[in-house]
C-alpha cells in the first residue's frame, strides 16, 4: 500500500481529548496530524455527555483523573474568553433524598476537601429549599459545590481543534486507522493508504483498546457504558439554578438534572454496559424512567415538553482511573479510559501528554498563541439573532449566516451531526419540522441531509 501522508506526530481520535492534545502539540510547534474515523470531529464519545465543567470534588483522591480534571478546569477558565467559550456559573448541589444518603453527605464534603475543593459545604434542607424552591419537598439536605459549572461541550473541542489548525496542525476526517507496523517509525494502515508517523498518540475513545492493540497487547479493555439523556424545552431551565446531583453509588454518579449552555434542561444519564462501540440507541423504557425520575425530583417538569433524547457512550475500562502512559521504545503514547469527566479533563490530559512528549520524544516550545474564537451558541452571551438576520431555525433562533459559517472555514461541518453541534439548527423543540428542508438546501453540495 502506497504512502498517503506523513507527520512527526499522529493523534488517533478527534474527540474532545484528541482535539485538546492536538491543540497542545500544535501550540508547541509539532504540526500534529489528527485522524478521525467519523465524518466530523466529536463523532464518538464526545458527542453525548452532560456538559458539566467539574471541580473534581468527588473524584478518587490522588488519582490521575483528579489531577487532569483540576488542571483542565483551570486552563479552561484561563483561555475561554480568548476562544469565546461560555461558562454558565451554576454551582451544584448533591441532594440527599433519604436518611441513608443524608448520612453520607459529610463523607462527600471530606472527600472534596481532600481533593482541594475547599469551598464545598453541607447545607440544610431549609437552605436547599431557599436555593432551589422548585425541588421536590422531600429533599433532606445537600452538599453545595459552588465551582461546578456548565459549558458548551461541542464548541470547546471545536475551538481547540481550530487553534491547533491555526498553529500548523492538520486534521483528516473519515480516516479510520485499521492497523500499523513499527520499524523505528510507525506505518499506519488507513483505507486511503499508509500514513507514516514518528510518534502515535492513541486517543481513540471507545476504540482505544483496539487501537492500542496496534502497538501492544492492550492493558485495558473498553466496555462502552451507555448514558441516555432527555432534554427538556427551555422553560424547564427556569426551574433550577444549580446542577442537581444525586449521592453517587459505586458504579455511577447517578441521574443528574442540569441546565445546558443552550438554555435547556437535561436529565440523565443512565449507565448501561454494552458491546457495540459506535452506536448508542435510546430506549423507550429508559427514557420514560428518566422523565419519571426527573419529575420526582423536580415536579414542575411535568408541565414541560421533551425537545430531544440522546444516548452517549463513555469509554469505561476495568480500571477506575485514566490510562495515560508512554512507550518510548515504541514511540507511542496511550490515552485511554477517559470516562465522562473527559470534557473537563481534556486540557489537563493534553498537558500530561505534552509532558510525556517533552520527556521522551520532542522538545515542547510554547509560541505566542493565535486565538481562534468560535461562534457563541450560549444564551448567556450575545447571539447573532439579537443583532438581526434571517432566522432559519426558529426554535433555536439560528441565522442563515451562522449556518453558512459552519459550512465554511478551516474545519467546516463534516456531516449533519457536525452542523447541528456547530449551530444548534434542528436541535430544538420541533426537531426540524420547520427548518430541516431549508437547512438541507443551504448545505446542499457540502453535506448531505
Amino acid at each position: 500500500m502506497a504512502e498517503f501522508d506523513r507527520a512527526d506526530v499522529v493523534i488517533i481520535g478527534g474527540g474532545v481529548v484528541g482535539c485538546a492534545i492536538f491543540r497542545r502539540l500544535a501550540l508547541a510547534g509539532l504540526k500534529p496530524l489528527l485522524l478521525e474515523a467519523g465524518e466530523d470531529i466529536l463523532s464518538g464519545a464526545s458527542k453525548g455527555n452532560s456538559a458539566i465543567l467539574h471541580t473534581g470534588f468527588d473524584a478518587p483522591p490522588g488519582s490521575l483523573e483528579v489531577v487532569c480534571m483540576q488542571a483542565g478546569y483551570r486552563e479552561y477558565q484561563a483561555i475561554r474568553n480568548r476562544l469565546n467559550l461560555p461558562l454558565v456559573e451554576t454551582g451544584a448541589l448533591v441532594v440527599a433524598w433519604n436518611e441513608e444518603q443524608l448520612a453520607r453527605l459529610p463523607a462527600i464534603v471530606a472527600q472534596a476537601h481532600q481533593n482541594g475543593v475547599e469551598d464545598v459545604t453541607q447545607i440544610s434542607a431549609e437552605e436547599l429549599r431557599q436555593r432551589e424552591p422548585q425541588l421536590a419537598p422531600h429533599a433532606l439536605g445537600a452538599v453545595r459545590v459552588p465551582g461546578e459549572h456548565i459549558i458548551d461541550p461541542w464548541s470547546a473541542p471545536l475551538a481547540y481543534a481550530l487553534q491547533g489548525l491555526a498553529h500548523g496542525g492538520r486534521i483528516r476526517r473519515g480516516c479510520t486507522v485499521s492497523g500499523g507496523s513499527f520499524d523505528g517509525a510507525w506505518s499506519l494502515v488507513t483505507e486511503r493508504g499508509r500514513i507514516t508517523a514518528g510518534l502515535v498518540i492513541n486517543a481513540a475513545g471507545n476504540f482505544g483498546d483496539r487501537v492500542e492493540a496496534i502497538c501492544r497487547e492492550s492493558p485495558f479493555k473498553i466496555t462502552p457504558r451507555k448514558g441516555q439523556f432527555v432534554v427538556f424545552d427551555k422553560p424547564a431551565a427556569q426551574l433550577v439554578k444549580s446542577i442537581i446531583l444525586p449521592v453517587p453509588t459505586e458504579r455511577t454518579k447517578g441521574i443528574v438534572i442540569c441546565r445546558t449552555a443552550f438554555g435547556n434542561l437535561l436529565v440523565g444519564p443512565t449507565a448501561e454496559d454494552q458491546e457495540t462501540r459506535d452506536v448508542a440507541e435510546v430506549d423507550e423504557q429508559a427514557l420514560a424512567m428518566l422523565i419519571a425520575k426527573g419529575q420526582e425530583m423536580l415536579p414542575g417538569l411535568a408541565e414541560i415538553g421533551v425537545n430531544a433524547v440522546y444516548a452517549g457512550l463513555r469509554p469505561a475500562t476495568q480500571f477506575k482511573d485514566y490510562q495515560i502512559s508512554a512507550q518510548p521504545e515504541r514511540r507511542w503514547i496511550t490515552v485511554g479510559g477517559i470516562r465522562s469527566t473527559g470534557l473537563t479533563a481534556a486540557l489537563g490530559i493534553a498537558g500530561q501528554v505534552g509532558d510525556l512528549v517533552a520527556q521522551h520524544f520532542h522538545p515542547m516550545e510554547e509560541s505566542a498563541p493565535t486565538w481562534t474564537p468560535v461562534p457563541n451558541l450560549c444564551e448567556e452571551r450575545p447571539r447573532p439573532y439579537q443583532i438581526g438576520g434571517e432566522i432559519v431555525c426558529h426554535c433555536e433562533w439560528v441565522t442563515r449566516g451562522e449556518i453558512e459559517a459552519a459550512l465554511t472555514g478551516p474545519l467546516p461541518a463534516g456531516d449533519v451531526g457536525g452542523l447541528k453541534r456547530r449551530t444548534r439548527a434542528m436541535m430544538g423543540r420541533c426537531q426540524g419540522f420547520y427548518c430541516s428542508a431549508q437547512v438541507a438546501a443551504i448545505a446542499e453540495g457540502r453535506i448531505t441531509l
Binding site: 422523565i291 439573532y385 438581526g388 420541533c430
Partner: protein, 406 residues
C-alpha cells in the same frame, strides 16, 4: 416603538383571514408579522388539493390557497422574516429579523402562531438516530418547496388526516410507502381520510400495530413493530411521524399570558381574549390541529371581536366564569366565559378526549346538568357542540366532563 392598531403574529389561515376581515371593517393600521420568508403558514407546503371550499368555494392546492389568503389580506401590511422573541404586557411584541431588533405595540395583538407535529424525540421511540426520520411538515417542505425525495419507501406513523396528506405528498414524487402504521383499532381521520385510505394507492394500513424501534445507524433500514405477536421487522428507508399536533406555544411559555396545560395554548374566553385583554388568539395555537378552514373561520370571528373592541362597541372583559375539563377529557376551550353577550348567538365549545372513550359528554353549570350527549370519542377527534350562552351565564363555574359508560 412601531405602533399599529392591530398586530397579527402569524400569516397562516387564521392570521390572514383576520387581517382580511379587519381590513374590510376598516379598523385602522394592521400589520401581519411572520417569521417565514413567505406568507401562508402550513398550507404553503401542502402541495395537494383539499383547501378553500368553505372560504372561496373552490377546491385548491395548499400553495394556491396560501396565495389567495395573502391576496385577500392585501390591505394589511405584511412583514415577512420577522421573528417574535417576546410578548410583553399591553400588546408589546419584541422581534428580530433582517432589520434587526424591533419593538412593536398594537392596541390589539392577535396570536395566530399555529401548531406543529410531535417529533420522534418527544414520542420516546427506541433506536439509534439515523437520517430519514421526520414529520410530515418537513417532508412537505422537502418535496413541495425544494423538489427533493428524501426516501424511496418510508413508513407513515399515525392515521390522522395529516397522514393522508403525507400519502399525497409522497405520491407527488412517486414514492410508495411501505405501510401506514396506526396503534389504534381504526384509522383516526374522518372523511375524506377514510376514502383516501381506501384509495390509498396500495399502501397497507396496519391497525393495532405499535412502533417499537427504529432500525439503522446512518440511514433508516427498517422499523420493528408489534402487531400483538412480538417484534416484527418491516423494511423501510424512512419514517414519517404524522400528527399529534401541538400548539407552537414557545412564545407563551416566557410570557405573562395564562396557558392552559390541557390545550397547551393560551387560555381564552369566548371572545378569543387571552388573560391580558390586549392579546387575542385564534387558529391552531389554541389546541393543536383543526382544518385550515376552521382556522380561517376563527381568524375571521376573532377579527370581528377585535374590531368591536377597538371601535368601542365592546366593553373590556368583566368578571369571568371558569370552564373546566373533567373525567376523560384532556381539555375544553374556551377556558372561561365573560359576562358580555357574545357577538355570535351560539357559543361553540371544543373538547378532546384523553383516550378512546364511549360514554356521555356532560356540561354542568355549578352542579346542574345543562346539556348532555352520548358520544364515542377518539383522542385525535375534536368534540364540538354549540350552547346558548344564556344557559351558562347564571352559574359560578362550568364543568365539562366525559364520563365513560359503566
Amino acid at each position: 416603538m412601531i405602533e399599529r392598531d392591530v398586530i397579527i403574529l402569524g400569516a397562516g389561515p387564521a392570521g390572514l383571514s383576520a387581517a382580511a376581515e379587519l381590513a374590510r371593517l376598516k379598523v385602522g393600521k394592521i400589520a401581519v408579522l411572520d417569521r417565514e420568508q413567505a406568507a401562508g403558514g402550513i398550507p404553503r407546503h401542502c402541495g395537494h388539493l383539499g383547501y378553500g371550499w368553505n372560504e372561496f368555494r373552490r377546491i385548491m392546492t395548499g400553495p394556491a390557497y396560501a396565495r389567495r389568503l395573502a391576496e385577500t389580506a392585501g390591505a394589511a401590511e405584511l412583514k415577512l422574516g420577522v421573528t417574535a422573541l417576546r410578548l410583553e404586557p399591553g400588546g408589546v411584541v419584541q422581534t428580530t429579523g433582517a432589520e434587526g431588533p424591533q419593538a412593536w405595540r398594537g392596541r390589539a395583538v392577535l396570536l395566530a402562531l399555529g401548531a406543529r407535529e410531535t417529533p420522534r424525540s418527544a414520542r420516546l421511540v427506541s433506536g439509534a438516530r439515523p437520517w430519514g426520520v421526520m414529520n410530515t411538515g418537513a417532508l412537505q417542505q422537502f418535496v413541495y418547496l425544494h423538489g427533493k425525495r428524501p426516501f424511496e419507501r418510508p413508513v407513515i406513523i399515525g392515521s390522522e388526516l395529516v397522514a393522508f396528506s403525507t400519502l399525497l405528498t409522497l405520491r407527488h414524487v412517486k414514492v410508495r410507502p411501505a405501510a401506514m402504521i396506526e396503534a389504534g383499532r381504526r384509522i383516526t381521520a374522518q372523511r375524506p381520510g377514510d376514502w383516501i385510505a381506501r384509495l390509498a394507492f396500495g399502501v397497507p394500513v396496519l391497525l393495532d400495530t405499535r412502533l417499537i424501534r427504529i432500525l439503522g445507524h446512518e440511514r433508516v433500514e427498517g422499523v420493528e413493530v408489534d402487531r400483538g405477536n412480538g417484534p416484527e421487522r418491516l423494511d423501510c428507508d424512512g419514517v414519517v411521524f404524522t400528527g399529534r399536533f401541538r400548539p407552537e406555544n414557545a412564545l407563551l411559555a416566557g410570557s405573562h399570558l395564562a396557558v392552559d396545560p390541557g390545550t397547551r395554548g393560551p387560555a381564552i374566553d369566548q371572545l378569543w381574549r387571552c388573560s391580558d385583554p390586549a392579546y387575542f388568539a385564534a387558529g391552531n395555537l389554541l389546541r393543536g390541529i383543526e382544518t385550515a378552514g376552521q382556522c380561517w373561520r376563527e381568524g375571521q370571528a376573532a377579527a370581528r371581536i377585535i374590531a368591536a373592541t377597538l371601535l368601542g362597541k365592546l366593553a373590556p372583559p368583566a368578571a369571568s366564569v371558569p370552564v373546566q375539563a373533567a373525567g376523560a377529557l384532556a381539555y375544553v376551550y374556551p377556558q372561561r366565559l365573560t359576562a358580555e353577550d357574545p357577538i355570535d348567538p351560539e357559543l361553540l365549545f371544543f373538547a378532546r378526549a384523553r383516550a378512546a372513550t364511549k360514554g356521555a359528554i356532560v356540561l354542568r353549570g355549578d352542579d346542574t346538568v345543562i346539556w348532555s350527549r352520548q358520544i364515542d370519542a377518539l383522542p385525535e377527534r375534536r368534540i364540538a357542540w354549540p350552547v346558548s350562552p344564556k344557559d351558562l351565564q347564571a352559574h359560578k363555574s362550568i364543568t365539562v366532563s366525559l364520563e365513560p359508560q359503566a
